[in-house]
């Protein structure tokens, strides 16, 4: 037992990711952690999307299962798992069966290289960003095969649309990413594809890449931000599953558990691309204003933020507990909500513990940034109509791709003479 604690402590003090350290045990632990965390995030995302969207649309959303519908995602999950798994008679059974797994595999494998902190990644790959793009592009295979295997018109059209859309936007996405990789080469002379390396490059550079070579970084970020919405088939680019046209796109024929896999894959893909965006442009795990508000005091202040956030959520819960109707029927719900608030508050309190708060800060900031993107996703869905397919392709090929190319060239030119650029802006070289 003692050895175990020592082992853990030895790990906590190391500066390597489990992958880099070649530590299979920790790698496994991390993998499990990431998997569980992702699942929770997807479930939370499900609930949040429904609630936020509902409130945007002047309605309440789920209110029945659990206090404020908090248990709704769980109920949904149970329902989906218990549903009959229908495989159409004329479908290609093997491919139909395997397609969702390809998608889920692609969506989850991406997280191998996602850096939640300097050491909080399963592994740090030399080709990290390449790996992420490559693996996430594998989900196209799953979608295409799913659509084809259903042996039906709507799924096939949805799959073709989907894959065309994803392949198209991958190009613009890649160009935006390459511009960032160029930016990483400024300090060391040779750039890096490693996710951790990119964040560290931002740290060294002293500014997030979104502000680098203003406005080039910003443009790159916007290209990526648009492309990633398209890449994940979300509104306003949710054509493959445009329900008014193609019923539900490539997963029309899926139901039950297999459908929930697609669902899971979609949300984890959203989180994955958001992670890429956060890592590449928004400083990854770095806290806001590291240059402006530096010093140990500010460090302390920012390290308190995670705990405060959880306490804030707990406060909201308690506020709502008070507002709960005082009717016997609501007794259990009220208690549930109070319990939920208490858990949140406890987490918040734990996060004030010095040893924890130093370690957790990175993850919190990363998660907070990703959460911002998640909110954007929901916001888009509440606000925008849907693009038409040709308009979408036009945008991908005729707007984003030329912009990305121009951005690439400009970034290259500017990066070659970064000194001049900095002089121009009156920023001295460190």
């Amino acid at each position: 037992m003692h050895e175990l604690i020592d082992y853990i402590q030895s790990y906590l003090k190391s500066n390597l990711t489990p992958g880099a350290a070649g530590n299979i045990f920790w790698a496994t632990v991390y993998i499990l952690l990431v998997f569980v965390g992702l699942s929770i995030a997807v479930i939370a995302m499900n609930w949040l999307e429904r609630k936020i969207l509902a409130h945007m649309q002047v309605r309440l959303g789920p209110m029945r299962v659990g206090p404020h519908g908090l248990l709704q995602p769980i109920a949904d999950a149970i329902k989906l798992l218990l549903k009959e798994d229908i495989i159409p008679a004329e479908a290609d059974k093997f491919v139909f069966w395997i397609a969702p797994f390809i998608v889920v595999l692609a969506a989850f494998t991406v997280f191998v290289v996602v850096p939640f902190g300097p050491t909080h990644a399963i592994t740090d790959m030399n080709i990290g960003i390449l790996f992420m793009l490559g693996v996430s592009s594998l989900s196209v295979l799953g979608i295409v095969t799913a659509g084809w295997a259903s042996n039906s018109h709507y799924p096939l059209i949805g799959a073709l649309r989907s894959s065309a859309q994803m392949v198209s936007y991958e190009v613009a996405m890649g160009l935006a990413v390459v511009s960032v990789i160029m930016m990483t080469s400024l300090q060391t002379g040779t750039g890096t594809l490693s996710m951790i390396g990119i964040v560290q490059a931002q740290q060294t550079s002293g500014e997030w890449f979104i502000f680098k070579f203003f406005p080039l970084g910003l443009i790159g970020f916007f290209i990526f931000a648009i492309a990633m919405v398209a890449e994940t088939n979300r509104a306003p680019f949710d054509l493959p599953e445009a329900e008014s046209e193609l019923t539900a796109g490539f997963h029309t024929e899926y139901s039950g558990f297999r459908w929930s896999l697609f669902f899971l894959a979609e949300y984890s893909a959203m989180i994955a691309v958001s992670s890429i965006a956060v890592t590449l442009w928004l400083g990854g795990w770095l806290r806001p204003f590291p240059n402006l508000l530096h010093g140990s005091t500010w460090d302390l202040v920012f390290s308190l933020v995670p705990g405060l956030t959880f306490l804030f959520f707990a406060a909201i819960c308690f506020f709502n507990v008070v507002r709960m109707p005082k009717h016997p029927l609501f007794k259990i719900q009220t208690m549930g909500l109070a319990g939920f608030g208490a858990v949140l508050g406890l987490i918040g309190l734990v996060m004030f513990v010095p040893g924890v708060r130093d370690r957790v800060g990175d993850i919190f900031w990363f998660a907070a940034k990703v959460a911002g993107f998640m909110y954007l996703y929901i916001w888009y869905r509440g606000t925008f109509p849907r693009y038409r397919f040709d308009q979408l392709m036009k945008m991908g090929w005729k707007v984003l791709l030329p912009m990305g190319l121009a951005l690439l060239i400009l970034t290259a030119v500017v990066a070659m003479r970064a000194d001049l650029w900095d002089q121009l802006r009156g920023v001295g070289h460190p």
Binding site: I24, V95, M125, L130, L133, L160, S163, T190
Partner: protein, 177 residues
């Protein structure tokens, strides 16, 4: 730099996957199944590249082969109707001769690989551990560096080849030219 874990196990696992995948590719009636088998093979090969400390090639393998070319294959398979092709005869009339020729080639390979000169095999078992951290940069240097850019010109030619291929493919696939 720790020694790689369980290298033989993973090698044999991946090798078996590749061989089985390859056999499936050439035996399946349904082209989609073939394609899926090929994808499996390619992914396994990417993993093998990683084991050979060639992560960049592995990444390119995944993003280009599995994510690009194979999607293209699937696309085309869906455009053409494969139902009929799946019902027809799958092998041509010279399949026996073809397999014989391939077997001859295989025999030759075996002969070569087992040939020993002066008690040593033709290809010595050289193997060395090498950190992968700078692999990408080293390849980039070979490709682009002003000093060591041995393959700069070849790289440009390759880009030209791709451009020609794009135009060719568009012209071929267009309905009416």
């Amino acid at each position: 730099m720790n020694p790689p874990v369980a290298t033989p196990f993973f090698f044999y696992l991946l090798a078996t996957t590749m061989i089985v995948g390859g056999i499936l590719v050439i035996t399946r009636k349904n082209a989609v199944h073939s394609a899926l088998a090929l994808i499996t093979t390619l992914l396994a090969q990417a993993a093998l590249y990683l084991m050979l400390y060639a992560p960049f090639v592995a990444g390119v393998q995944i993003i280009l082969y599995a994510g690009g070319i194979m999607v293209l294959f699937l696309f085309v398979i869906m455009l053409i109707s494969i139902e009929r092709a799946a019902k027809e005869r799958q092998f041509n009339k010279q399949w026996l001769v073809g397999i014989a020729a391939a077997a001859a080639l295989g025999g030759l390979f075996i002969a070569i690989y087992t040939t020993t000169t002066k008690g040593k095999t033709l290809f010595p078992e050289g193997q060395v551990s090498y950190g992968e951290s700078q692999n990408t940069q080293a390849i980039a240097a070979l490709l682009f560096d002003r000093v060591h850019g041995t393959y700069m010109f070849a790289f440009e030619i390759a880009s030209l080849l791709l451009l020609v291929a794009i135009i060719g493919a568009v012209v071929m696939a267009k309905k009416r030219i």
